[in-house]
Symmetry: C2
Subunit: 230 residues, 2 copies
């Protein structure tokens, strides 16, 4: 019988494949990315969390494990954002790198001893492939913000609507209209109020909400022709 195991697939050029992860969480007014100390002798002091792909394990499962190692908890959400195999250097010399965007509420658990959160606006020097991936992941989060529960996974289980709006503004990179935001949220049946209120020093206390999607609103209306300049 013909051997079908991957390690002996006929004619295959064997490749070193890395899984590289952009794990984000909000911190104050900026989005932060988790970095870990680079390997001894590596060119950079910091790198994104990454690991070699090992045949036999699903890359997505492996990516979750890489995050668990660096963060001490599983991510709230994770998605692939593309495979890169061009000349841009990977810190481990991978010929092919599969990029992931992931989010966490951070309060889940503190990061491992050799890991640290950096604001996306002030990152240390990174290998070119990692620098590119962070930009790609940012874009992916923005694009999927309204089709995946990304904003909710960036927040703890209960949150105020102002906190939720802040997350949207952080990821979208623009201001959002408050009344309109809340009307849309209500129409989508995505959150429900709790009995709790939180007072943040000055001002009226805010009611806490939780993510509780009630129905699928199938119909994205119409046909949108946007950004089609390519």
């Amino acid at each position: 019988m013909r051997d079908r195991s991957s390690s002996s697939a006929r004619g295959a050029k064997q490749t070193a494949v890395s899984l590289d992860i952009v794990l984000c969480t909000p911190r104050g007014r900026s989005l932060t990315v988790l970095l870990v100390r680079g390997a001894e002798g590596g060119r950079e002091k910091w790198t994104l969390p990454w690991a070699w792909f090992t045949p036999g394990t699903s890359p997505d499962d492996r990516a979750v494990h890489v995050i668990a190692d660096a963060l001490g908890a599983k991510p709230g959400w994770l998605a692939q954002v593309g495979a890169t195999g061009d000349e841009r250097r990977h810190p481990g010399g991978a010929a092919l790198s599969i990029g992931y965007a992931a989010v966490t509420a951070a309060r889940d658990r503190g990061p491992a001893a050799d890991a640290q959160w950096f604001p996306v606006g002030s990152l240390p020097p990174l290998a070119p492939r990692h620098a590119t991936l962070i930009a790609t992941a940012q874009l992916a989060l923005r694009e999927r913000l309204d089709t995946a529960p990304i904003a909710f996974r960036l927040l703890p289980a209960t949150f105020t609507l102002t906190e939720l709006q802040d997350v949207y503004e952080l990821l979208l990179g623009r201001r959002v209209h408050k009344a309109s935001f809340r009307r849309s949220l209500q129409a989508a049946w995505l959150v429900e109020p709790t009995d709790e209120w939180r007072s943040e020093g000055r001002g009226r206390p805010a009611q806490l909400f939780r993510y509780a999607p009630r129905k699928r609103r199938g119909g994205r209306r119409g046909v949108r022709f946007e950004l089609l300049g390519g």
Copy 2:
């Protein structure tokens, strides 16, 4: 100096990586996918066009070449749709497969001798990993239909607005309102009329248009909370 070439990256598990392509074009009332004859002794008679990834070449560039081999022309548009490395079988036994969605106007050139177009609704038996990839690629085309010029690359250089609408309906899987479709199209400044008209037997002849994007409409308004049931 430390060796950084991919083939000797320290600790790397070497992997056989395939590039697998779902190339689509409209044919009558259905979308069709290009398949090629499977390798001798392979389990399936037909497979998606695919090739091994070779370190040193960008996977996207390599994917374009694979298409050129099977189709005789470069695709009108192409994008990655995800890397799969689970237990689903790949026809060549690849441990990891990078999937691509691509489109062509087909009239570009006929396919190679061992390649053939199949309607997505009536495909021959395919390896599980390829069957899954086709569904994933379909979804990716639908999702990016309004942010990438996919519909225009599925049509020849000039086309009628009814043809364009048919492509949208084919990819979206639902009917689109004619007057509304044309208003949106006009508002987006994406097409311009030519001096030509085409008569298709009965009925009033239709004016031919060409894809000619004039401006970028930056503002996707508001915040949409849709499909966030996850």
